[in-house]
Symmetry: C2
Subunit: 328 residues, 2 copies
Amino acid sequence: MTIRIGILGYGNLGRGIECAVKHNPDMELKAVFTRREPASLKILTEGVPVYSVSQIENFKDEIDVLVLCGGSATDLPRQTPEYVKWFHVVDSFDTHAKIPEHFAAVDKAAREHNKVAIISCGWDPGMFSLNRLYANCILPEGRDYTFWGKGVSQGHSDAIRRIDGVKDGKQYTIPVQEALEAVRRGENPELTTRQKHKRECFVVAEEGADLARIENEIKTMPNYFDEYDTTVHFITEEEMKRDHSGIPHGGFVIRTGSTGWEDENHHVIEYSLKLDSNPQFTSSVIAAFARAAYRFSQEGQSGCKTVFDVPPAYLSPKSAEELRSHLL
Amino acid sequence: MTIRIGILGYGNLGRGIECAVKHNPDMELKAVFTRREPASLKILTEGVPVYSVSQIENFKDEIDVLVLCGGSATDLPRQTPEYVKWFHVVDSFDTHAKIPEHFAAVDKAAREHNKVAIISCGWDPGMFSLNRLYANCILPEGRDYTFWGKGVSQGHSDAIRRIDGVKDGKQYTIPVQEALEAVRRGENPELTTRQKHKRECFVVAEEGADLARIENEIKTMPNYFDEYDTTVHFITEEEMKRDHSGIPHGGFVIRTGSTGWEDENHHVIEYSLKLDSNPQFTSSVIAAFARAAYRFSQEGQSGCKTVFDVPPAYLSPKSAEELRSHLL
């Protein structure tokens, strides 16, 4: 059985889904939908059509799962409840604080139209959330730590680029190694924002710009940089292109906790990711959850779900017997 | 709602379950069942009775989930299908090669008696299996590595103790650091048994025993040691007691894989455990899955399941809303 996938939105994430479909033989890319002029868009997969999103309803019987590749700020809060009327959907909504609200809106629409939605797939929220949950259930007595990086923060890079005199900028979030080690040793440290992460910025300045002013504006920017130890490096456009064109990321979820009648035994559970490409890894997670959405739909289920609701076996193309024999 | 737990078998694992119940406020220990003389057994929880296993059927309406704490070699293949007639059960059956056979026997009995069983809970099989599955689904193109240790292998320690002239022995399995690092760097090494793990033995010899012979017998023992680089240390009884009375363990599950149209992006997913007490951590995992067994039973489900079939949210005492708000 082939799962027919549609993609809405062809940016880094959409292209990542396209690549993930290529890696999953039980999936087939049926169409890409875009808000841009369809003819302007050149996709990687030969023979797959690109349509205007205005035509999407016509494809409701030809697509099993529609993957929504818009942003969390304005696209997904509108798109996920809208398109779940016609399709089973998966999104990567990642504004943690607004998940309950998004869930409620999507759940209502999905139930009304007898469709399945899985929201907030990716690695955080997503795989990191799953690891927090498992570790919390195993060690009720304990403490959670999440470190991000080393990786590119799009939001912080954008903030740098908005500064007067900045031509280009890229920001890396980096976990503070000593903090990470203290956590791993089970010391249960109380860590301030500054003690957990540092920020490293690479900036291409416009000719004649006041570098000292730019550096100061970055380091003192409220919320983005002022609570962190930040270093700023001025580099050339060539260096930026050569050394900083990737979108790597990663991080660590650690729970330390105790067991025993008197809490005498200590344990460390750690999950970590080291990713060459943040959007491509996110897409690969989404593709696996698209399979789960399809499984749920085949069972006749409906409503909104999250990664917490998905039996892990539903993510795999392999049968339950195969999984028990080879992976358990 | 309190989940009423019964324990069958009061060794390290049974005691671990008892401690785990103490850490999970939604659980209550109802009774411990033993094949020994019940009066000879002193448990930690005040007011909880100990009964002979021969009386267990009488408690079928007073216990929600029975945790089977026997061994995988001879106890569980018989016990799990037997006791699932009267109780929802959880076990930690860990003979990987025989899981399909065990599953079939338990599934048949569980369905016949309308009960739920979750088998092979713990960390390997268990949490390591889950991490292998998730990582395989996310990165279909890739490679799995599992390293165990540093930790005590009961089987290898027993093998040492059977050697003539050995009074006591303890064996640690240790991952080879260079191999671990090569895997993490994404080099996809082909590793022989010897290249992955080494073995370190601590031996108390009987007075006058031939140490060179003992060391040689250990190092050349087929299956157990001959394929590994093994070091043997002779120590005193006092040193054994002082430095080697714990049962620590742990390990690493790593999958490296690629994404992208031309597999141009590389990723590393790593899960690791560092455990003061192997049986206590295993018990803590089992306790969480006992909660899932109870949830399944409340839904009216029956049959045998594994960790792959359990929606992660079922492991938690928290509501779906709470989990979405705080852990996603």
